[in-house]
Subunit: 500 residues, 2 copies
């Protein structure tokens, strides 16, 4: 494809993306395809000769678009939505056009320098302490692909640091601490590194937040057993329910355990720190005063296209001492002089995308106020959903709503005063029927979760185009499916009763 052919195909791509966004809310959220659908449309072998780009672009419309789950759809409430903006998309387009794996300063000065600056912008936006800023020269921020990546980097830095201080400790005795509500990134870090993971139980009565006492007990027990906990992955806003671990209590415990690295995973809720009114309940002061590392994902609730996970550390040497490799072919005069950040020593791989460009575009395009406005609107929309649930006959909140996330379930009102309260197991059956009905639909997407054995449904607001109308519509669907589920469940119970 020559430059003029690219101009034509590029204009068409822009036009088709516009069409996509105009049509988005009329599309299904969840595609109507079955496993293996694409094999019917695509041959097993690549073509021998190059094809006309128009044919390729048309095939994208014909075969790929109908097989996509539309994460940008205003009725996408599953997982955590990944709000994508045109500013971010354009940043990625420019970055792609120069395709530059800026792993050190000289391989592309602008990539390193912009990342250094924009990570400080992001730290400012979220209210992080200057200790985490690149400008401090001691702490610093770096873009990673995902929160799993960020956590893995933190665990590696913590392990390396711990091993330097305790060279006699065996790998088999090292333990990563998480809670039973920590994102799968905790278990995955353990799998990847071959280390033990201790998942500390959290309680529904504590809103699934890790408490200081539970942490202290675990630490003491492990000390007795000769195990060496070296990192706690604390969560500010869990995936399941948006639970926030009790950072002030953890801080107190950590004072007695200075070798315990505290990594704060605020992949989703971290974005809410942009609004000062959320900082206290998300324990920002504590994070600023004692966390060793902090992660938040701008690609989740931060208006930047996937992938854009921000990781800050209080001491950058913990990263470079753990990850620095400098073979001859990577040595540069600037790196040798120590005047620049060589970001390759701040992450797992060598090459890296120029991700700071899209973050820069988004932060400038929205400004601090525009960013705050979007976060506040998501929280308000969620509150609107919560209000509807609270007035519902058959639906109940499973936990306190958290920011833009609600976890709820069907708990039918008794039909008569004599009716027995259903067992926990029976209520789970009902909610599985309920979720089964919801997940069979194509016009909305929500996800399930389990809270200490209690089966629930999650609704997360975040797609940039969601409005009050979509929230009302979501509630109407949820209510209708709850009623239908109760009917089926009633019949099952009666059916079982008859057979019995």
């Amino acid at each position: 494809m020559d430059i003029e052919q690219f101009r034509k195909a590029g204009y068409q791509a822009i036009d088709r993306i516009c069409d996509y966004y105009y049509s988005l809310q009329d599309r299904d959220v969840v595609p109507r395809v079955e496993p293996g659908y694409l094999r019917e449309h695509i041959p097993l072998q690549p073509p021998e000769e190059g094809e006309d780009f128009q044919v390729i672009a048309d095939d994208y419309q014909k075969f790929i678009l109908p097989g996509l789950t539309h994460w940008q759809h205003p009725s996408f409430f599953a997982y955590f939505p990944t709000a994508c903006t045109f500013e971010g998309l354009l940043g990625d387009l420019y970055a792609g056009s120069i395709s530059n794996p800026g792993f050190n300063w000289s391989s592309s000065p602008a990539c390193t320098e912009l990342e250094g600056i924009v990570m400080d912008w992001a730290a400012n936006l979220l209210g992080l302490s200057p200790a985490f800023h690149n400008a401090s020269g001691v702490g610093g921020g770096v873009l990673q692909t995902t929160a799993s990546d960020s956590a893995l980097v933190a665990v590696v830095a913590a392990r390396s640091n711990y091993q330097r201080e305790h060279p006699e400790v065996k790998m088999e005795d090292l333990v990563i601490y998480t809670t039973s509500q920590t994102h799968s990134l905790g278990a995955k870090a353990g799998l990847v590194l071959g280390l033990q993971v201790r998942s500390i139980d959290v309680k529904l009565e504590d809103q699934l937040s890790m408490r200081g006492n539970a942490l202290r007990e675990a630490l003491e027990e492990d000390k007795q057993l000769g195990r060496k906990p070296f990192i706690l992955i604390a969560t500010v806003g869990t995936t399941s329910t948006g639970a926030v671990d009790n950072m002030p209590e953890i801080r107190e415990v950590a004072k007695d355990h200075p070798s315990l690295w505290i990594h704060v995973d605020a992949a989703w809720a971290g974005m809410a720190l942009a609004c000062p009114e959320n900082r206290s309940k998300l324990y920002l002061d504590d994070i600023n005063s004692f966390a060793h590392s902090f992660c938040a994902n701008f690609h989740k609730w931060g208006l930047v296209n996937f992938d854009c996970s921000t990781l800050w550390v209080r001491d950058r040497r913990n990263l470079t001492e753990a990850l620095d490799i400098t073979p001859v072919f990577l040595r540069t005069k600037q790196g040798d002089a120590g005047t620049v950040i060589d970001y390759r020593n701040w992450h797992l791989a060598l090459g890296r995308r120029f991700r700071s460009l899209k973050l820069w575009f988004v932060l400038r395009g929205f400004g601090v106020q525009g960013f705050q406005k979007y976060i506040r609107r998501c929280i308000e929309l969620n509150q609107q959903f919560v209000n509807l649930i609270e007035f519902s006959e058959d639906l109940s909140l499973a936990t306190q709503p958290s920011l833009a996330l609600t976890v709820f379930r069907v708990v039918p009102k008794p039909r008569s005063p004599e009716q027995a309260t259903p067992s926990a197991e029976s209520l789970n059956d009902l909610n599985r029927i309920f979720y089964g009905r919801l997940s069979a639909r194509h016009d909305i997407m929500l996800t399930q979760t389990s809270l200490n054995g209690m089966f629930c449904v999650r609704l997360a607001v975040g797609a940039a185009r969601t409005t009050e109308e979509h929230i009302r519509n979501a509630y109407n669907i949820v209510e209708k499916e709850a009623k239908a589920a109760i009917e089926t469940w009633d019949q099952t119970i009666n059916g079982v009763a008859i057979v019995g």
Copy 2:
């Protein structure tokens, strides 16, 4: 930014990318900026209010473009060029527009299905055995970010597999094997995982290729010492010189060590397997018959925008048994039924970009023949450079050229029959002066390397726009700087002589 504003900004981005490519060869390859340059142009804080996108887009032109090293420049011969194509760029643009972290089938069926198919296309293109195809249902391919990531995944899978078979073995005794010419990914995997790395020495007389005997000796020595080598990272086309480890000999040794996982890193040279004439010298038959995993980077020499690293394994269960985590909120009916690939269990993170789209666009846009034509042209251009070096008075090949890579150095002809042969150290001094001169230039970029203590310069052909003219120009520059370096060196030697 609304949809029509995006259309306008998008058209402009496409136009500016066209301008960029029209002007590329008239630009400097290496920017004229000093560390810290960008801080003079960008405030320390993000703006309070959103800015007009035109201002942002103009700032990209004003402040970012002049600070970029232009990897797509036809005179970029450093590292390994990352050939970027418009087809790949458009694939990334469409993928970004739907911003979809397709970590399992239901989170976006098309993403998983296309990756499954296109990885088989790529395997076909490179001549990989059907055992590695996804269609086999046993082996399979997955897209990773970089070769470091791919190697890390392979090491984790190998370690996990080894530990299942040898549960009594301590982590401290595990050893990763590399050679002294392995990419930094080997050392980094060791750092990340906290495992020992044994770097087996390779010899210049073997063209820096790992030989079977050296591997066998290392294995026997480690057996005596109670160490447990569990993976060998063999390289087909090293970064330094394009050396190819002797896979037939390694295969013989591996027969006696069935617990040793063989990972083949062909990040760069793997692309040359697309041309049948290269398959024998890159030992494709051996790779197909016994390698456990194989990595090649389409973002390097494969016309796809960074990042696009392809990893194949002979047994997908080795990945899923090492990396599978399935919390409740990630369970789906399709995943539970086992009818689909859940790619999140094939890599380190959870979320993943829709990278297969750009690979699909490139393979269709070029076809097998177009892809082969590009690879062959790069090899021919490199051969042209080699021919010029071979006729040069002052320049010599340091090793046999490999595909599209030449490693060379200044070795001046004696000025008179009486002149003493310079020492190895003195020749290194000369070549450091030579490379210092080359790296002070802005119109070309090459990188250095060290071969068992011998300082050399590398020239790698790969940028999509490099022509014969750029090769001749590169040679003229190299020759001129060699002469100038010799002059300085002569003076230094004479100066030292006079002082002595």
